[in-house]
Symmetry: C2
Subunit: 358 residues, 2 copies
């Protein structure tokens, strides 16, 4: 299953409520992030891929994934956090077959090489089959304070999963000093990627969030019937809002039910425009990374990233590591160094009622 | 007379062929530069003000100066440099009254305080009445390599013009070392501002550019008749192209016919976006200078200039002395330090056939 939520605030005004991060091609690959995510999973799951997204994105997601079956497109009337989104997928799949092993892979991450990723998922499936919730951890490239971490434990002896290990615990986003200690101790980034038997997911969900579990089971019961819409509309709005980490992953880890496969592939959650600088090659002619095919970029002694949504000339002169995001109703000019601060500006805009551009 | 020509290339894309510098309010005064120039002259000349501009700007100039008389709006079918533009004004005025003293004041300069300027012009008129071409020189504020200079001579004893001096010579734009020497020697900037008897102007023009003089006299003869258009169309396209400096000012100076009034007012030719930074006050809320009332500017730890031609949000984050010029078909992002380099980009655009945006 692919949870496709999250606006990607730090990528405003490119990414916004009406066109979140997963609907953009941020790597110049020719594929949007959600399409690339789907394509990465097809060799593992065939067409048995479910997408959970906001109702507002139905048309855009179908444009990207025209092969998806109606019953595998879960449309949230409103966002109710990750436990509801992932839990509903687990519940629906459980109703179809209680033996199913599910995987959850966010729609807006960049991963490669694909074969290395797929091998990690295969190991995770073998490990999940032994009765574990198996997270795929990411080898940190720097002591980031923007991710949660996973403390790994002893190797597990799982046939077909030579790199499987126990999980000590999940830890929250650390401060810089703690992050450095985590790196030194071999902790992995928690990218929210996991593979697990749906029955085990639901067991922990029921234990920790019984009301949420009950609501999701009611929707799941109606899902593959003509009462889907009706029950969804009735139950969804009152579901408790909580993260899957709190509702399942952390208590399951405490119970010794979680394993980890260390992912040795490249991974980027494209968290800000600096990431877009890392993930794309600058044009040899202009020295600038250009996303989108509409802007005609001219540069003189400049470098950075230009995203151009509207067909016009964009001229950059004497400015390094600049970020220019040119959309019909909003223009952002910043530098790679300040890419994280975009969030603060989005908050200013929200405060000032500039909701049209968010 | 007000020569209103010159695109103001270094102010692209704000200033461009279809909307040159003089049609913009670049000081936040609420007046375009040409309107402010006109208003500055009314106390001196009343309605006896002539404007010479390109035919393409007829409507825009009339919008700005709706009081101007048809016979005082000279529309050039195509630009033929300053000697033709200013010489034609001189010739037309001479036909009306050979005793007229004219003044020439470019449409795209910023001057203040107005009273100090007007006092300088009054001194220039008194001096011109003694049979001189009188330039108003500008006290240099720095050793600019972007202006020509005027070497001043001995004081002249002109009643009503206590600061009048002889002119030694006009000199071309210097290199940086020479500019420093000029400043040390009390040279003034040549701002192309002068007051002179039209008869004396035409005498020097005839001596130096007889073909140009003859052509202009033919147009002037027809000007206040119904043959104006016809003769203009016939004669103008073949007029020699040359600058008034070469055709009149320099040879007149060599002949001892030029005087200078040192202007003690503030003067700026708004040559680039750095000038706009000097001439405007930053908003206290954003720390940014905003020109135009359409952009809704949000800034976080940023400073500089934003010109917004289109109604949208412009967000600046963590970037100092930035210049953002946001027009419908072209966007410029640079810094004050690189303001002069805009010209190079305009040349690139010309080379690439991007004439629509120039």
């Amino acid at each position: 299953m692919i949870p496709a939520g999250g606006v990607g605030t730090r990528l405003w005004p490119l990414s916004r409520a009406s066109a979140p991060k997963f609907l953009h091609d941020l790597t110049g690959s020719g594929s949007t992030l959600i399409r690339a995510t789907y394509d990465r999973l097809v060799p593992l799951a065939g067409q048995r891929i479910m997408v959970v997204t906001g109702r507002a994105h139905r048309r855009a997601v179908l444009n990207q994934l025209n092969e998806i079956q109606d019953e595998n497109l879960v449309l949230e009337p409103e966002p109710r956090d990750s436990a509801a989104a992932i839990g509903l997928a687990a519940a629906i799949l459980y109703r179809r077959n209680p033996e199913i092993i599910m995987g959850s892979f966010a729609a807006d991450q960049v991963i490669g090489p694909v074969e290395v990723f797929q091998e990690a998922v295969r190991e995770a499936i073998h490990t999940a089959a032994t009765g574990k919730i198996v997270t795929i951890g990411i080898h940190p490239t720097h002591p980031s304070t923007g991710f949660g971490y996973i403390q790994t434990g002893l190797p597990l002896d799982v046939p077909g999963a030579p790199s499987a290990r126990a999980v000590g615990q999940f830890v929250e986003k650390p401060d810089a000093d703690t992050a450095r200690q985590y790196l030194a101790s071999g902790f992995l980034w928690n990218a929210g990627m996991f593979v697990a038997p749906v029955s085990l997911m639901l067991k922990h969900l029921e234990a920790n969030e019984p009301a949420l579990h009950a609501g999701l089971m009611r929707i799941a019961e109606a899902w593959d019937t003509d009462r889907r819409e009706e029950v969804m509309a009735q139950v969804w709005p009152d579901l408790p809002k909580t993260a899957i980490d709190y509702a399942v992953a952390e208590p399951a880890a405490a119970a010794g039910d979680v394993a980890v496969i260390p992912g040795v592939f490249n991974w980027d959650d494209v968290g800000d425009f600096a990431a877009i600088g890392r993930l794309n090659k600058a044009s040899e002619e202009t020295g600038v990374i250009v996303l989108g095919d509409k802007a005609r970029v001219y540069s003189d002694n400049a470098s950075g990233v230009v995203y151009g949504d509207i067909p016009r000339v964009v001229a950059l002169i004497g400015i390094d590591d600049v970020i220019v995001v040119d959309t019909a109703d909003a223009l952002l000019v910043t530098t790679k160094e300040h890419a994280q601060q975009v969030k603060t500006t989005v908050e200013m805009l929200k405060r000032d009622g500039e909701t049209d551009v968010l």
